[in-house]
Symmetry: C2
Subunit: 264 residues, 2 copies
């Protein structure tokens, strides 16, 4: 597998793309189309859906990669790995140089609120952030495989060009969600809404009398009226942008748990 | 599958356990032994290793669960799901009541620094935190399947009893790592060290001439001398405790990315 052909000289930005819906999904193909004029694009995406894969990595089996498309300024690979595996493979093995930008999506379905924890699309973004590459995840609030992504074009192009020009703060990446509404009201910089998933299983019994469980569930928003949150923005017709960090430390809680040491 | 038998009345704490090394791993069996006197224990753990599964959830296939052990005060189930699936199944379907504490591990290997992002052990802890149950992950800094967990006993018992008695701050969970040293120097409340994994693949060619890639790599600590970090604590013989949050918002960066809206 050679890495030198087809991609343009370094004066055009190199954009790495992945997703968790798989390389065949409409969202990632629309995303590539939207950014065709912004830079050279390399897609490294899962060979089938990997929704809910979070930041999972594969160490129990070897990864395979195959080149699918190789045109000037546009190359695609598919892999048997997770979205994070795709980013790692691309940066470590496939790309001719370090990418200028990582873009993940466009996800079929919201990744606002607690969804970010489970999202493979956002897992890939967090990975890019960890290794110091400006990284953005885009999600459209529709699970329809044939969803219309036209409302995403402007925000995708604007955000990616701004980030390519200005960068992002150190160790910060972006979670951008786009509502499905007749008229988008604007863009809001938000925080992740507090909430969780509940009533999560459809319990069935197979023809042999054995139990099995399908994951289902619904999201409980713990602060539906809070205008600072991404869920509020989306429910009110705004695009939400949440700056995210890979540092999970609850810095303000460090003093609250001192009793664990003091009582020792 | 009935949920009512064997477990004691509500006056004993109910402790839910899982891990990502699988139900057969030494670490989780030692953990159950350490907490046998602290409360009633229900283990719901993966049927095989799920290292690196992060907060992955399974929606592409149905989940199965089987009861393995059913003794007074001690019950174990194995599942074909991820660690987060195990927590969700337990809380939604298997437990007689909401658990008082979730404990994950003891992981075979460190989950300090950026490892938390990929860890299935910590994925389960973050899930417990999201649904409002005090949750703690324990990891021993040894990948040896036969590792000696004796050095974990005191911190496991102390931390779990303190948390059962005092609770944890809202939306906060704990990432506890234990070093492998002749004499533990003490316990430190830390923050997650900045760093990432690099040189991540062993690239091979199969007998048919096709490429494949094994995930390997090494951790780059970006701040090895910073005494605030979990990596420093462990390298210097201390047990590290990091309070963690499921809110990935980089709150202090919200103003830094206003240019995305202002230039619009």
């Amino acid at each position: 597998m050679t890495n030198s052909a087809a991609l343009s000289p370094e004066n055009r930005p190199l954009i790495l793309m992945t997703n968790d819906d798989g390389i065949q999904a409409k969202g990632i193909n629309e995303l590539a189309d939207m950014l065709r004029e912004t830079g050279d694009i390399v897609v490294v995406a899962p060979d089938s859906p990997r929704s809910g894969q979070s930041s999972a990595i594969s160490s129990e089996f070897p990864l395979r990669v195959s080149l699918e498309t190789d045109r000037p300024g546009y190359r695609t690979y598919k892999s048997n790995g997770t979205p994070v595996d795709c980013i790692k493979l691309a940066v470590n093995q496939l790309l001719p140089r370090r990418p200028d930008l990582i873009v993940s999506g466009i996800n079929h379905g919201s990744n606002a609120g607690a969804c970010i924890i489970y999202s493979g699309t956002m897992g890939a973004v967090l990975e890019g952030c960890l290794i110091g590459i400006p990284s953005i995840g885009f999600s459209l609030c529709s699970h329809d495989p044939k969803a219309n992504f036209d409302a995403c074009r402007d925000i995708v192009q604007h955000t990616c060009r701004q980030v390519l020009q200005n960068g992002l703060p150190e160790q910060i990446c972006l979670n951008v969600n786009i509502p499905v509404v007749p008229d988008i009201q604007g863009i809001r910089i938000c925080r992740q809404a507090k909430g969780y998933w509940t009533e999560e299983y459809d319990h069935r019994v197979d023809p042999h009398g054995r139990d099995y469980y399908w994951l289902t569930g619904r999201f409980v928003n713990l602060e539906p009226d809070n205008t600072e949150t991404d869920e509020w923005a989306l429910a009110n017709g705004y695009i939400s942008i949440v700056p995210c960090s890979t540092d999970l430390t609850a810095h303000t809680a460090q003093s609250d748990i001192k009793y664990l040491i003091e009582n020792k």
